[in-house]
Amino acid sequence: MDASPDKIAREKSKALGKPIWPKIPADFVRAMLAGHSALGLAFAALIYLVCFSGSVAVFTQEFSRWEQPQGPVLQGVSPQAVDVAVQGALAKIPQAHDLLVRLPTPDHPRLSIHGDDAAGGEHTYVADHAGRLVGEARTPWTEFQAELHTVLHLPRAWGGFVVGLTGVALLSSLISGVLSHPRVFKDAFAFRWGGSKRLQEADLHNRISVWGLPFHLVVSLTGAFLGLTTIIVGVLALATFKGDASKAYALFQGPTVKDDPRPAAKVIDVRSGLGSVAARYPDARATYIYVEHPGERGQHAIINLATDGRLSRGETVVVDGAGQILGEVGYESGSLGFRVLSAMTPLHFGWFGGWPVKVAYFLLGLGLTAVTSSGVAIWLARRRDKGRPAPGLERLWVAFVWSQPVAYAFSNFVSLFSPTPTPVATWGLATLTACLAAVFGAPAAVSIALRRICAGLLALIAVAHGALYGSHMADPAGWAVDCALLAAALILALTTRATRPQTVSR
C-alpha cells in the first residue's frame, strides 16, 4: 500500500473522465455560498429549534400514551359506547360549545373526549370500552412539545407565521445549498472524519443533506405551507372576500349547518351518525368526531374517516343532530386541491406509514438538526482557519445545540412529578441555564457535560416512569418509550466516551 489517499483520488478522478454534471461557474458557487451562509446564520437557532422539536413531535401519540399508560387501552369501540361517553362528558360539561371525541386508532388506542367548560377550563376525559368516563387525562408534556413545534408557544397567529417563515428559510437554504456545493452529489459516498474540523463538519453536513434531501424538501415545504396558511388565506380573503377569512376557510368545510342556539328536543345522537357513516363508507374507520353545539337546534357532528393505504388526513363527513349524513368535504373524493391539502399533515409529521416511517422521520429529522448544527460549526471553523476565531460564539452555539435535549428531558422529568406542571417554564429555564454553561468551559467540555447531563436525565425519567406506573402500565407504549429513553441515554453517554470513529482504511 504505497499509494496515498490523495494520489488514489487523483488517479480515480482521471479515470472517471469528464463529469456528466454540468460545471457550475466558480463565481456563481461563491455567490451562492455567501447567500447560503448568511441565511443559515440568520435563522440557525430557529431552524435548529423547529427541526429538533419536529423530530420529537413525530412521536406525539406515543408520548401521549406514555404520559397516561394506565389506559384503558382499546382496539376498537362500539358506536353505542361513543354515544355513552359523549352523554357522560355533556353531564360533566353541560355548557360545552363543542366536544372533540377521539376514537381508538392503532397509533392512539384510547377513547377520549375533550371539551371546554363555561369558565374556559379545558378537560379531557378518558372512557372505557363501554363508554364510561374513568378519569381525566393529563398529558401536559405532550401538549408542550407539540405546541413548541407548531407555534413556539407564541400567540397562534404569530407563532404559526414564525414557524412558517423558518420553513421558508430552511427551504431556501436547501436550494442555495444544492447550488453552492457542486460536488455534493459527486461525493455522495465520501464520509470522512478527523483532520481539519471544517472538512469533517462539511462531510457530515453534505452527506446528511444529499441523502436526506427528499425528506428535507418535503418537511420544509409542507411545514412552511402549514405555518403560513393563516397569512396566505388572510391575503386571499383581502383580495376576494373583503377581508373575511372565514369565507375562504368555508370553501374547505363541506356542508354547513346554520347556527341555531335554541334548545333541541334531544341531544345529538352520535350512535346513529356513526351507523350512517359506517353504512355509506364500509372500508373507512372513524378516527375522531367534532360534536358542534350539542343540545342546540343547530347541533351537528363532523366525523373524520381514515381509509387504509391512503396518504390523507381522512375524509370528513358532516351529520345532523338526528345522525343523517349531510355531505362530505371531499378530502379524498374531491379535486386535486383537496387531496393535496389532505396529504399535508401526515406527510409533514410522518403519520402515514406506521412505525417504520415514524422512526425514519425521527432519524432524518435529527439528521436535519445535525445539518443545521454543522452548518454553523463550518462557518465558525472557517473563521478560525482565517485567523478570525469567535470563541464566545463557538461555546454559545455548542451550548445552545445541546441545551435542547437537556431542556426537553428536564421539563419532562419535572412534569412527571409535579402536580401542576409548567413545562414551558422549566424548558425555558433549562435552556437558559445550559446556554450559561458556555461562559464556563471550552466547546468540547460544554458539549460533553451537557450530553452527560441529558443522558442522566433520560435514564432517570425512564426509571422513574417505570417505578411510578410499573404496577398498572396497561399500555405497552409506556414500556416501549421507557426502553427507547434508556437506549437514547446509553447512546448519548457512549458518544461522550468514543469521540472518534473507528478507522476504516481504503
Binding site: A31, L33, G167, F225
Partner: protein
Amino acid sequence: MSALWALALAPLPLTGAVLLKRAWDDPGPQRPWLILGGWSLLILALAASVPLMGPLRGPCAILAVGSTAVLAFVAAGIERRNARKKAARELAPEPSDRRRVAWRGWLRGFLAGPLAGVAALGCGLAVAICAPGQIQTRMVIGGLIVPFLWAGGMAWTLSDDKILRAFAVLASVATLTLGAAFLKGAL
C-alpha cells in the same frame, strides 16, 4: 401489515446504494452497469411500493425509510482522514467576500424577507384568482407555490451581488401579480 412493507422493501434501495458505491469506488469497465443496476433498484423499490402501500403513500414511505437505510450505510463506511496530510479537497470553494456595508445588508434583508415574500404571495394570489380550474385546487396550488417562490427569491437575493437588479425584478413581479389579483378580485 402494510406499514411493514416499507421495511420489507428497504433492502432494494440499500442494495442500489451498495451498487452505486461500488461504481463510485472503482472506475472499472463494469461501472456503467453498476450505475444502471443501482438506479434501477431504487426505481424498482418506488414502483413496487405503489401496489403494496398505495400510489402516494408507498413512494413517500420508501423515500423516508430508504433514505434512512442508505444514510446508515454511508455512515458505516466512514473513513478516517489523515490529519497530517493536506488533502486536495482543502481547496474547497469559499463564499464571495463582499464588502461589509450596513445599508446593503439591511437592503438585502428587506429584499429576501418582506419583498420576496410579497412577490411570492402575489404569484400565489394570481394563481388562486386568475388561473383556470376548480377554486379549491387553485387556492391550494397557489398557497403551495408561495413558500417555494419565497424560498427561491430569498436564495437569489441573498446570493446576487447586484442588489438593484433583484429589487427591480421582485418589485415588478409583486406589482404585476398583486395588481392582476386585486383587479380580478373574485374567485
